[in-house]
Symmetry: D2
Subunit: 499 residues, 4 copies
């Protein structure tokens, strides 16, 4: 049934109305609190029925974004989020969100509180023993740890055993990024030389370079802690596998270290190596960040953002360099407060995620802010959801880090020069976007605040104003050097340009 059918179902009978109510009631019974979607024949009645039962219905502008929002609700609350779409094209548009949720292992829960499983005792003993014998240990804290609410026990493990740890993108905040044992600033070094790595709900996918040399020692011993048996032993053969709920298993490990107390020596060469690398990396970043004359680079931008970032804010992010560099500079202090493009690297998720987080914050902790850090290309995938943000009056702060392109763009002069003699349909480079696009006006169009900033001072001021206004959304369009890149990396291919 197409969504724009001219025939409206006004001659529906009572039975059909009840159908919508039955669905809404079933969702309510399953603990559904939030529904995202786009109405159309014949699902409009379901939205009405849901509202009548107290379920929040948030109308979005494209099913893609609706589905991403529903996924985020599932991740943040541990309860199912629902995406309401018409059949046919609506369902197909929503597939992106469903695939993304799947890839990130957000399966929403059934109504029953999920059962918790633990690892078998001998395997826990063996894992503890492997950790005790490590010369250069490392914990990697993944999204699974966040989803399992394992923050208290993992922090205890880190502190009691004095172990260095590294969060994955969405594992950030399980232990605060500014914890002295966090070695995020020496990420590559830590991965490359660790001899024992404990994976706490983190998967050896492309983000972790599949666990393979040269990014890892060929003889590294992995201890995998995961809820999913099928995941264990993928890509590498682990030394020990601990199948179970990540919180429960961490507790089991702690019990082992209670029985025979042990801590990794804080004066070890490994800690020294890591600290030195962290110091030099941070110095390099600060050097870049300290650059005052416009155009700004990524580091300048993120250092100023970090200065004003509220400790309890949600950070949502997507993009290429924007997400990757932002992740290293922007700190998370609380678990489940970072949402990004995830395992699948999906573009278009940002605004949906931000909306979900903001709706939740409005209900549960008024005053808590959502900062959505978008590359300019990434913003284009779902930018029209700004209307949704304004309609529901969600005080989200969107930062568009704008380099006029995908990976890299051009400044206006170069662009104009390039297209002087040839039409843009012939000569525009595939990765370039229109220079000096005023994305902030998309926000202004719907009544929010918009800022176009080119200097650190403008950035600081616009951030201050945006944070001060707790009732309205803002979009800060931050112009950076179009050819800005990352700082030099140990693995050269991370920074070499491809154009």
């Amino acid at each position: 049934m197409p969504e724009s059918n001219v025939a409206e179902p006004s001659d529906r009978n009572e039975g059909e109305v009840s159908g919508a109510k039955v669905i809404a009631q079933a969702l309510k019974t399953q603990g559904v609190e939030y529904m995202f979607g786009i109405v159309g024949i014949p699902v409009t009645e379901i939205a009405f029925a849901a509202q009548e039962l107290g379920i929040r219905y948030i109308g979005m502008r494209n099913e893609q974004a609706a589905c991403y929002a529903a996924s985020a609700i599932g991740y943040l609350t541990g309860r199912p989020g629902v995406c309401l779409v018409v059949s046919g094209p609506g369902l197909i548009h929503a597939l992106g969100g469903m695939a993304n949720a799947n890839m990130n292992c957000w399966y929403t829960e059934c109504c029953m509180s999920p059962p918790v499983s633990m690892a078998e005792t001998p395997a826990v003993c063996m894992a503890a023993s492997v950790i005790r014998n490590a010369k250069q240990p490392l914990l990697i804290i993944g999204k699974g740890a966040a989803y399992a609410h394992a923050e208290k026990n993992i922090r205890k493990l880190v502190e009691q055993c004095k172990l260095p740890f590294l969060p994955t993108p969405m594992g950030k905040g399980v232990v605060p990024d500014n914890h002295p044992n966090c070695v995020g600033a020496a990420r590559s070094r830590a991965l490359q030389f660790a001899d024992v790595i404990v994976l706490l709900g983190a998967r050896l996918n492309w983000i972790l370079h599949f666990g393979l040399p040269p990014r890892y020692r060929p003889d590294v011993k992995f201890i995998q802690v995961d809820i999913c048996a099928e995941e264990l032993g993928n890509n590498v053969r682990p030394a020990v596998t601990l199948l179970g709920d990540i919180n429960a298993v961490t507790k089991q490990l702690l019990e082992e270290f209670d029985k025979i107390p042990w801590q990794y020596p804080p004066e070890s060469k490994w800690w020294k190596t890591l600290r030195e690398k962290m110091d030099s990396n941070e110095a390099a970043s600060k050097e870049l960040a300290s650059q005052k004359s416009p155009p700004m680079n990524y580091y300048t931008v993120f250092y100023h953002v970090q200065e004003q970032l509220p400790r309890d804010g949600f950070i949502v992010s997507e993009g290429a360099n924007t997400m990757d560099i932002g992740r290293t500079v922007l700190q998370n202090y609380l678990p489940r407060h970072r949402l990004d493009a995830g395992t699948f690297g999906t573009m278009g998720v940002g605004l949906g995620f931000a909306i979900a987080a903001a709706v939740l914050a409005k209900d549960r902790s008024p005053g808590q802010r959502v900062i959505c850090v978008e590359g300019d290309s990434a913003f284009g995938f779902s930018g029209m959801e700004v209307e949704t943000i304004c309609r529901y009056n969600l005080p989200i702060i969107i930062l568009v880090v704008n380099n006029n392109g995908i990976y890299q763009g051009f400044d206006t002069d170069t662009w104009n020069e390039m297209l002087k003699s040839q039409d843009a349909t012939i000569a525009a480079p595939p990765a370039c976007l229109l220079p000096n696009s005023h994305y902030e006006q998309v926000m202004i169009a719907f009544g929010g605040k918009g800022y176009f900033v080119q200097t650190p001072e403008e950035l600081q001021k616009s951030l201050r104003q945006s944070l001060a206004d707790t009732t309205k959304p803002s979009l800060i369009n931050i112009m950076i050097e179009p050819q800005a890149t990352r700082k030099a990396q140990d693995f050269h291919w991370l920074t070499r340009s491809k154009m």
Copy 2:
């Protein structure tokens, strides 16, 4: 491979570069002239390689829109359009476009010019005989007739036999809408009382009410002309089926009517009935259109648009009432010059279609304009493609017919009143959008022209200016009565409100 991988493939070897070139060369050999997409690792090189070979690469903002654009190129040129996306999420986002192309039977052609088949002679004879004996005949001209380039022969058939005809949405323009034999203004009546209906590349789907009573006589005889055998006999059992290329079969029919000349009497009661109904419908529309005081209604808007519409313009449209009413008022004079949400009723197709048509027009008939008529909800599905339009400097005119909602919305006062005591996340009706949204600023953000119009005069003026500027895109945000509906219909369920 995720699209935002931090590792850039700068260490690619020659073999990989060649891979991209091989793909581009193969596409070129297949006659591909246009490619739409979003670059990302590892497909950026393919875009570069295609450009080097003279293929136009148009970078879009969401794979959905890219895929819709590629589909439209296939329909308009009869040659394959290509959509370039990264694997994983990019491919999934593109599914909407692929499903839509499928549903609308745009299969792009292989390089070889497709073979043409004709209907068997006895069946053609029988069809001619059924037509000759019709008391109340009707031709329905579908999208298949447009795709088959059958305009010359179908017009000859209409004029030689003096038959009334009705175009389907995308069959409009095969014979001009203002042809005296066009009975579009008496559509319901024509369908309901015809005793013989010749379907020329038109399918009995929901748009044609599946060919069933009460919208048709129970004893109506259908003559189906179609290229696809599986389509024949769906929903109804036709009196005659003519399997073959629609142009070739129409020619066969003409040969029959050359052998034994025949024409349907212009003074028949059937023609009289149809003409009377057309007159009264047109009078009712004009009455509605003549309403001068704001807020405007759909008819006022479309009558003014029609007045200024260039005869050779492409009309692209999507939305609910916007598309349905617009279709009855806006005239097509040329075949393959209307693109809309189609059989599947897919929202989000408009801007991609408009971009494809504009890129083509730029190449093939500079000066030819593209008018994109969007409902406000429809615009939200792919509104960010406005940046693409500005980047490539495509002088598309976008009309957003804005009633603040899906089907129906509210004015600002009602909206504010409604949300005075309750948060929008609780109380906003599912089908409502933000009142008075300034969609025109989305165009201004990227350097195009934007107009916010509330009166017929403002509409006339903004249209005039937009048409006069042949170098820049415009967006006219046309505010209408939020509760505006269609004029009364014979079948009451077409107009009854559902809220």
Copy 3:
């Protein structure tokens, strides 16, 4: 719902009974005359209801065979055959049959007689012209010609233009195999040196070596006549494509050759080459066939079978060498009287096909026989259907050409020697079957006649008796030399052993 559920639906209400009747009535209305399947909860009632309405229900022993039988009915009658299976495992077992039907392009017809399309006139002219200018022409008659009932017109084309022709396996009999223009005995030569090949409902799949060198001249011109546009231009780029019903298009070609009469010179060098090759090939086959001392080879067997084969018999066949060599020796004189493993090379189809043909013959031409020529491995796929044959008293003659293996086997002495020191689960070669298996006893087990034959005389006698008994099925288990192969071929890889 599993098929062996202990709970029987005896507490069904009237509504459910009606459900089965509704389905049966709908099938009846669609012209279904035959249903093959295996009953189980909840489909048993459908079988009963179908029988009550006069539909024949044939209960089979495995859904695979049921589905193959239903497919064959569709091919033979042009009306849909139905396969009745339980959901779950029954449906999955039936997939083989459905895939096979698809691959062989048996889509059953809807109730309406299918419309016929013709090729466009200019393409027909061009095809005639290409044929006229051919130096070494060849017609290939495919299964599509048989399905289109094109036998009368194709024979006229062959005879009027004096063209050499070659049938594909299931195209055999459209023009009788013993027609003087049939060059089947020089197949490889004809394909390799023809300069113009007309494909009449034949596809360039693996059976026709994909139309590629070295099996064809690189400059061969193909004229493709097919009902399916997607098929045209696959693998090769044809000189002319004629899209339409094969019978109708052949008639169009004949009309061209009526307008400007033409015939290919019977004294041409091409005919001379072909005739010489046919003579030498036939001599070689006869030489092999004349070998009298056991064990027999394939040619001896098939020459004796051919001697007694009724002219109007259905030949069903599957296996490797059995099907391939049998096809060259066993003659078809009538169209649609050969059914074999087809395009897909599917094993297990034979008995299902034979049952369908025999049920049909019983109804439509009592006395007409079905000869099912099976390799011993092939027979194993569905041998239990012999019970079905006996239960329904279908006088099928099954020939199992038994070489104790797949491709090749061993005699009893070699087998015993081989397994003297090692268990069969370790040492039995993968392609070997048990030597001297008495497949005929599978027939005797259910009351049919069984013969175990080792000499030409025994073969002759058993065939005579089987043909004489028109009321009972027989199975003749024909022992041949286990290492028997084909005669030498021009393309050496056709005869080289692989063990």
Copy 4:
């Protein structure tokens, strides 16, 4: 690539040969010991290569059976079994086996020994407490318990706590069927009145009536022990869920009952009720079994089989009443020694399963027998595998319990009378098979022993001879009353005839 291609790959180059070896070596490395399949181009080389590496290759007669055999190896050994088929039809034929394996949760293991998880401690405490407070407790032991090798701990739990238990079909033998606490003979009663049910690796599917009234008390408390989180809470909401390895969790439960010892009172009213029901049911069965005059009924047959059944034999079974009644009479004393049609009720699995078990027994415990109990209809699905059994000399004993039909058949006189005036294709009832079919001759055809038995004495004698011959397979075709049914049941629909 079709399996019967005339072109043999004798011109393969070294690279291709290595391909087969690489595959075989990879399988060997993964611990594969057994491969079942049907060779054909291009997989023959893989079979050879596997044999060279010491993998057993068992050539079957239909891919269906090959796949069922491979599944059974996986279940029995906990290591992957492999099914080798050609692409195309071979793969499709194998789908039945793959679907069946999936439905029965046989996912074969990766090379690494699977990690073991336990339930969380508080949930174990709660489960123990619920059990302690049960008035009418029941353990249900499922196939998952067998697969987890939990027999030792489950038996300890049964005996220590003195709990009544009920095995599911493939859970039989985890604790011996003749254990005094087994209440299998009062199955319906036990399910219907238990107030607390512990599911140990058993799922609430149709075999367990989905856990719903009237087969269960509406207030029954389920404690679910399962390895699969998705399975927990299906159909019913359990009181406690214990997620983890079934053996490990049972051990956790035992530890709870060690801490605070508890046992269910053997003199309780519940035990009394169950024992009385068991006694009366067993008396009724014995009454039926004692019937001496032919034709025999199911109970007579199974009681005589049970008398001679070796304690360590594998029992394989499929059919409707044959499997259902056989399951109640034939005793299992060892875990993983029963294989039947399973959750999916798949027909055609029997011979494949029996072959797998027999190949395994030959290797691991020579002398151990496989008894395959088949309904006559079930046997037809894969009866040709008898040749495989004979070829590999597997001393399987096949019992065909023959009632001339599916559910019910007719005797010869009734059958002949019924078909006197009408052809069988018109008048044969869908569920009937040929009366007095001599299935034993299918075994004789390939050199095994065949018996046709009609009396208890003949049955006893043939069983004795079959068991005595440890080198040869036998098939005993046991004729029973064609209208034989089950004894009367508490739930009337279990016994009401449907014909």
